[in-house]
Amino acid sequence: MERIIKNGIVYDPLNSIDGEQMDICIKDGKIVESVSEAADVIDASGQVVMAGGVDPHTHIAGPKVNVGRMFRPEDSKKDAEVITNLKRAGSGFSVPSTFMTGYRYSQMGYTTAMEAAMPPLLSRHTHEEFIDTPFIDHAAYPLFGNSWFVMEYLKDGDIDKCAAFVSWLLKATKGYTIKIVNPAGTEAWGWGGNVHGIDDPAPYFDVTGGEIIRGLAEVNEKLGLPHAIHLHCNDLGHPGNYETTLKSFDVPKGIKANPKHGERDAVLYATHVQFHSYGGTNWRDFVSEAPKVADYVNKNDHLVIDVGQVTLDETTLMTADGPMQYDLHTLNGLKWANCDVELETGSGIVPFLYPPRAPVPACQWAIGLELFLLVNPEKVCLTTDSPNGGPFIRYPRVMAWLMSNKYREDMIENQVHKWVQKKTSVATLDKEYSFYEIAQVTRSTPAKVLGLSETKGHLGVGADADVAIYNFNPEVQDQSADYVALEAALQNSAYVLKDGNIIVRDGNVVSEGTHGRTYWINSLYDGELEKQVESEVEKVFKKYYSVNFANYPVQEEYLPKSCPINGVIQ
């Protein structure tokens, strides 16, 4: 199958193409140099062409997402789509059903989305939901930050065994990276407490958040994993937490990146940093410290961040940070679901409203934008931590805010609480993202830090033929003035191609749906040691787990389009 996309205005940062009018050639699902006369033609004159979007941090599959769907029928009622010849019916505004998730990412031109928190014990459920999420390529991040095994090995100072365990678990759960959430804190929550900062130890294990971050960062590079450690810092959402954030950022500094796949330089990926950039001591004297955090990120090469932009919607908060969710439940008094995943992690879910006129949500909105506008686009990824800061269907709106100072001014002057002007610097920032920079924060930067830049996030020869075409002509239309049209164009792509097949036309899904790739780490760190660790793990299973050891690993049958990435073999 050959295809050619003609005369589009192409933005492809990984290949330094900035708004050049050119043709993109596709053959057998890949981008190629040229195609024959027989190729199908898509005319993209006067339209923006980019690689398919890559979302490095979202919550779209797995047990807590499903609990979010079940315990919020009122969210489902708000947004429902009926069945068509091609599409399944679906519902859910902030937590859409699986099929709707696939359709909606595709409609925005996104072709890759990563589930950012997978409890290892429940990884089979996560993969089952991936099976029912059409089109988008994906991976899942198993949680390690409060794992009893990790804490035990780190307490003993045995980095090698910790690495062997991580290697075994990634393979067993078909997981992709080392995810750390509130290290030591979620375990403390099992005892009704929390940790504050990175120096508090977890109960019994006596290792601190800082030691867990450091240990797992070393393990990550020993294993040569494609992605950096994926860190959700301690103290999320608390005034004054930026100090913990900066201290956490410092922990893995000095460790050298050693990916065996891909070409990242970062050893740390810090997620939803908006929720971690607060100054002050309480909600009265609270201020934005985003400029300080942004300055740190710009000056240090060992990390990349994503924002977790607040979109001022009613949404559903869900995270493995159990104690933080309890705080939120006591704050807004709304219903709360909580879960302890035996020996591994926990989670909490709370509905949440971000009204623009309320002081704190308005500031959170502004702090996210400050980070975007102050951090070099090579070091920041666009996320809403969907659905935590807002549902992923708001990405086009976030892009419009970034690309139009006029849009932001209208928000600041007419829509949001005046604290935005008093407590944040967003009103003083007049930077406007170009399409090139948008392509950076949504394509090239996430693809690179995920270690997938060989085939994802760009339109060079050899890349997967995932292409998004948007009906907006930057040569004629003014992105700053015409932000309504801009947002609409980004929401409803003119065309989206997945592996060379047209899946979206004029904003509508036009394909029945195919399975996306599942990226996972097929790692073997040290055969002998892994066997030893496995037998230790098996004993713990017998003693403490409610499942049988043999029932734990996820078989490749659960991955219809399995895409293993081979780790280190020693």
Partner: protein, 270 residues
């Protein structure tokens, strides 16, 4: 006022949903058009005339229209959903979701209704002459923002968890209620003239419940304020002597009031 008369034929085994047969939608339509309107029978769409004989005349403005359902529609749901004006009269029983999200106008059901009557209603008048099942004047399942306005009257008995998450408006139950009337109530006025089984006002934060009948069992999370005679709530004078309670202190910052008639309720007096 123009009348549109729907005479039900046989009620199907699978419920009908006629949420679109409201004055707001029928205004300006000819009777022929109305006969041909699509309604839902389970998961398939059917024409209104397949289950109802339609006669009468429509009008230009919804407030000029009275829809009369001339018989028993015990398996028809969502009568009067979201209506803002006009009238609906049901001369028989109806199924679930009568007057859901009603904003204005008037609905009267002469018989009994199923659960969720007046769910999330924000205005208008809903009157049920017979009994109603559970969740009368409640919030949508899962939501914490319930009925916010209007007047809902049930002349018969009702089931459990009525006025759940109620925010405003008024509910009058002339008969008895099962457990948890006014659960999670956040405002408005609930008057129960009959008896209550138990747990009135559980986790209520605000609003007022007046119980004129006998309460079998009362929650411990309420503070007793003594006896008050001829109380005035929301501008209305209610005659009689009442025990006054404040709570439910199981919920932080709660300041709801429950008045329970002194007569017959000696057993709950502190």
């Amino acid at each position: 006022m123009s009348e549109i008369i729907l005479t039900p034929k046989e009620q199907p085994l699978v419920p009908l949903e006629i949420n679109n047969i409201i004055p707001d939608v029928l205004a300006g339509k000819s009777i022929e058009d109305i006969k041909d309107m699509g309604i839902w029978n389970g998961n398939s769409q059917v024409r209104l005339h397949e289950f109802f004989d339609v006669e009468g005349e429509s009008a230009e403005s919804p407030s000029e229209i009275k829809i009369i359902i001339n018989g028993d529609v015990y398996n028809t749901k969502r009568i009067g959903q979201g209506m803002t004006a006009g009238e609906i009269l049901v001369k028989g029983n109806a199924n679930m979701y009568v007057g859901v999200e009603m904003k204005g106008g008037k609905i009267t059901v002469e018989g009994n209704v199923g659960s969720w009557a007046g769910q999330n209603m924000s205005g208008g008048e809903l009157t049920i002459m017979g009994d109603a099942e559970d969740y009368v004047g409640s919030a949508y399942r899962g939501d914490w923002r319930g009925m916010s306005g209007g007047l809902l009257t049930v002349h018969g008995n009702v089931g459990s968890e009525i006025a759940e998450y109620m925010l405003g408006g008024k509910i009058i139950i002339k008969g008895n209620t099962s457990i948890e009337p006014g659960v999670h109530m956040n405002g408005g006025l609930l008057i129960i003239e009959g008896d209550v089984v138990a747990r009135a006002g559980g986790e209520m934060k605000s609003g007022t419940i007046v119980i004129k009948g006998v309460v079998n069992e009362f929650l411990p999370g309420f503070k007793y304020h003594g006896v008050e005679k001829d109380i005035e709530v929301e501008g209305e004078l209610i005659k009689g002597a009442f025990y006054k309670f404040e709570g439910d202190y199981a919920t932080k910052g709660a300041k709801g009031f429950v008045y329970v008639s002194v007569a017959g309720n000696n057993h709950i007096a502190p």
